[in-house]
């Protein structure tokens, strides 16, 4: 019976580590999605000078639909409201600053704004991707070791 409890706790630890890793990967996917979105906005301004509402209606991405960013922007909400669904505080903050600068200037200025945020997003994403394997190892190890220790306490 005790061994069964121990196994259950260890499996729980394994589950938690899986969840944390999945969350980390999702986080990076959101950075990629936001990067794609900014790149699309840049393209639409550069080639067609499309107004924002037209851009928001013509872009679609499952992650940004899921976290509510695109639906909110399409319904005319400010970026402040739209970024509420983004869990990563740093990304939400960056999108908020980007949203505040979007549409406030002429073409060249807007392209520079897009380039600036795009570069920041790519740098951050690359950095996160680089750290990911070691982070996964750490998270798995900590969860497993933690679960084992708790299990051992109950043995």
């Amino acid at each position: 019976m005790r061994m069964l409890g121990f196994a259950l706790i260890v499996m729980g630890g394994w589950g938690i580590s899986l969840h944390l890793v999945r969350e980390m990967k999702q986080n990076i996917s959101t950075w990629v999605a936001c990067g794609d979105f900014v790149r699309y906005i840049r393209l639409q301004i550069d080639c067609f000078l499309s107004p924002q509402d037209q851009i928001f209606h013509s872009f679609s991405h499952p992650i940004l639909e899921g976290n509510g960013l695109l639906p909110a922007l399409r319904s005319g909400e400010d970026m402040e409201v739209a970024v509420k669904g983004i869990k990563d505080k740093q990304l939400a903050d960056m999108m908020l600053r980007f949203g505040r600068e979007l549409g406030q200037g002429y073409r060249e200025e807007q392209l520079r704004v897009c380039d600036f945020y795009l570069a920041q997003m790519v740098t951050h994403r690359e950095c996160e991707e680089e750290k990911m394997p070691s982070q996964i190892k750490i998270k798995r190890t900590v969860c497993m070791v933690g679960a084992m220790l708790v299990g051992l306490l109950f043995l």
Binding site: I45, S50, P51, G103, Q104, G105, Y106, R107
Partner: protein
């Protein structure tokens, strides 16, 4: 009054609250212009009269209004801002006054915005009654509509378009609507609109690709003389407008004489602005 709903959305809430507090519903509906100035009093034009209102806008507020009028996308309206206006829904127009940003000899934008002017158009049913009667009597001749600034040229042309393209007349009408003021919601049935085209280009496209029975265009300029001549040679009547007070004024006007010399216009329509509405005078031009 859909235009009022739109203005409520782009103007600061306190400004609209002030309008609702100080002006009756009837006066609100008669508004022709709203002028907001940087750190100076705003004014409204109601029934041709200027009414000062005691409210000041700062630079940030004016910029905010401009960006909202540009659907949050200033870059998308650069070309029209360079020309001093932003086309708005419901045939309205926002005049943008400020400091020009000049590169070389060209205006590339407007820097510090110092005033914004909302022009609210009116649909006056029957405004073009005399012009339509004149036009029908002469089996579709070219007509030049003349009036001073804000004299009712666009209002008259809009009604003309609706009247000739709908109902029993049913004339195919091509409209060259450079500033998005002629064609809005009260369109006639057989109207094709070239919106946002520079006038010269629009006139050429209307002539070559749309096989219209009449072409309508607002506020002709020096650049359109060739286009007008070509339309004249094609035999399609052109109904257009120009700034001029009366016949003398028109003939003194270099552009006016040039346009009349093309032979495209056999009728002249002069608009006299009255306290309530306006009156039209039709004259035959024989060259």
């Amino acid at each position: 009054m859909e235009w009022m709903g739109y203005l409520k959305g782009v103007l600061p809430p306190w400004f609209w609250q002030m309008i609702e507090r100080d002006f009756t519903k009837e006066k609100q509906e008669k508004m022709e212009e709203i002028r907001l100035r940087l750190d100076r009093c705003a004014s409204l034009t109601i029934g041709g009269e200027n009414v000062r209102v005691s409210c000041l806008c700062d630079e940030k507020e004016l910029q905010g209004i401009l960006v909202r009028c540009c659907r949050g996308s200033l870059y998308a309206y650069r070309e029209s801002i360079k020309n001093g206006y932003v086309p708005l829904p419901y045939g309205m127009r926002l005049g943008v006054v400020g400091q020009a940003v000049v590169e070389g000899q060209q205006v590339t934008g407007v820097g510090r915005v110092s005033a914004l002017v909302f022009r609210i158009p009116r649909r006056v049913v029957g405004a073009a009654k005399d012009v339509v009667a004149f036009w029908r009597a002469r089996r579709g001749c070219g007509i030049l509509v003349c009036a001073t600034v804000a004299g009712g040229k666009t209002t008259l042309l809009k009604d003309f378009i609706v009247q000739i393209s709908s109902g029993e007349m049913g004339v195919r009408c091509a409209v060259v609507d450079t500033r998005g003021e002629l064609c809005p919601d009260t369109l006639g049935e057989l109207v094709d609109v070239l919106e946002g085209y520079p006038r010269g280009v629009g006139l050429e496209i209307a002539l070559r690709t749309m096989s219209p029975q009449v072409i309508v265009c607002d506020e002709l300029g020096h650049g359109e003389i060739e286009g007008v001549m070509e339309i004249c040679h094609s035999g399609i009547p052109l109904v257009a407008s120009l700034h001029a007070r009366d016949r003398d004024d028109l003939l003194k006007h270099h552009l006016g004489r040039q346009l009349l010399d093309t032979g495209a216009f056999q009728g002249l329509c002069f608009i006299d602005r009255l306290r309530e509405g306006f009156r039209t005078r039709m004259e035959v031009y024989r060259g």
